[in-house]
């Protein structure tokens, strides 16, 4: 068996990244390359810092008080943590979808148009909303009810609406934080299919607790683990096929086979 491990263009370069919540060190010296138009899965037990790491990519951790970041994340030759960078601009390029669908209490249309509005978009809103809903594979289901409240949609549809909301502002990177953990198997398959389509145009980073999901949807997998000081470290990152068939590190093998004591 040969595992293809070709190097693609790097979209996000993480260099010696450490994250502190007050005195607590949540992540220690993470270095990794996130490749363009690839799906990178972050896996690891609860509390290993994978969601913290995910939030670093679009500076969502800035929203938590007493958060301190050391190291760099280079995007487009710029350190996104350098002083001159506006985090809102970063978030328009690096979008995020959360674990639980969280549409706004607005119409389906307004949910998708929201990001465009706050970013001062002056083009054709109808076209952009339709494009984002088509991209998120929701258009056919909602095209006749765009003015209905977003809460009238099923959980799976709401999650795809959140994807559309993120896609509307044309980001480069999409961060997915356990996007299917609240969905049934059918809605899960739809999101996974969507990820497969979207990676042609976007770089995707996904946090998931479902090993088989990581194995199905991602090209690269990073395994994080926290040690005795509860501080998360990157144990191993490799081609997904390698991680789930013959991982290099024993900790990775123990985790993915469910033999963690």
């Amino acid at each position: 068996m040969t595992i293809e491990n070709k190097i693609n263009k790097v979209s996000l370069k993480v260099k010696d990244l450490s994250v502190y919540y007050g005195a607590f060190k949540a992540l220690e010296e993470i270095s990794m390359d996130i490749e363009e138009n690839q799906v990178t899965a972050l896996i690891g037990p609860s509390g290993c810092g994978k969601s913290t790491l995910l939030r670093c990519f679009n500076r969502m951790n800035d929203l938590f008080p007493n958060t301190k970041i050391e190291g760099q994340i280079i995007y487009d030759d710029i350190d996104i943590y350098s002083q001159a960078i506006d985090p809102v601009l970063i978030r328009s390029k690096i979008g995020m979808v959360f674990q639980k669908p969280n549409p706004f209490p607005k119409s389906i249309y307004d949910n998708v148009a929201f990001g465009l509005k706050i970013n001062g978009f002056v083009g054709n809103y109808d076209e952009e909303v339709e494009r984002a809903l088509i991209q998120s594979a929701l258009w056919e289901e909602v095209k006749d009810r765009l003015n209905d409240n977003a809460f009238s949609l099923s959980g799976g549809q709401q999650q795809r609406l959140c994807m559309a909301r993120a896609l509307a502002i044309r980001p480069d990177v999409i961060l997915l934080d356990e996007p299917t953990s609240a969905l049934d198997p059918i809605a899960t398959v739809k999101i996974e299919d969507l990820i497969n389509v979207l990676k042609k145009d976007y770089t995707i980073i996904i946090v998931t607790h479902n090993m088989q999901q990581a194995a199905r949807v991602s090209d690269k997998t990073a395994f994080l683990l926290s040690g005795e000081n509860r501080c998360g470290k990157l144990i191993e990152m490799d081609a997904t096929e390698k991680i789930f068939t013959t991982p290099f590190k024993k900790e990775t093998e123990d985790y993915i086979t469910g033999r963690f004591s």
Binding site: M1, A215, T246, T257, R259, F260
Partner: protein, 217 residues
Amino acid sequence: MPREEFDKALDELQETIEKVQKLVEKMIIDSVKSLENRDMDLSNKVIEMDDEVDKYRDDLEQKAIFLIASEQPLATDLRKIITTLRVIMELERMGDYAEGIAKINLRIGETELIKPLIDIPSMSKKSIEMMRNCMKAYKNTDVKLAESVCRVDDEVDVLKDRVINELLQIMMKDPSSSRQATYLIFIAHNLERIADRSTNIAEDTIFLATGKSRSID
């Protein structure tokens, strides 16, 4: 340690493999013994044992398939199950070859053999030795032992060629011996195939240990 039930199920697969190994080993020994002793009853018993092997195989396959579906195994766990399926298939085929030898013995019937058997019992012994070693290697995931099994395979091949040559000589000298000589060639062929199957199990062991599928030369 979590996943105790799963580990127990994996152990059970292993136990089935060991049972089948013992059965097949007995089938090979008895099939050659029945030939040497002109013992038709023993040949019939070997043929009956094959049904038992098939039943174990079917049972193990079902359990393994359900384990894959229910436990969604990964990495070493997945290789363990896949290897179990491969090894049971090899053992079952070895059983078929032994059954074949028993059936040939019934066809030869209760007549005297055209020659004393020397190389065929040696082939049988070497095949059994290979089988024991490859199964030991498999059980202990011992790559070194697995690799050494294959050297014996060359010796079995040499013996088979010798048996065939000798029988060809006999046939040329006495054409009336052709029927039985041909049967004995089949038997040598079956024993040689049994040894080949041990080589396959040795390769499965290397896959289990390393994740690499590779043919041993």
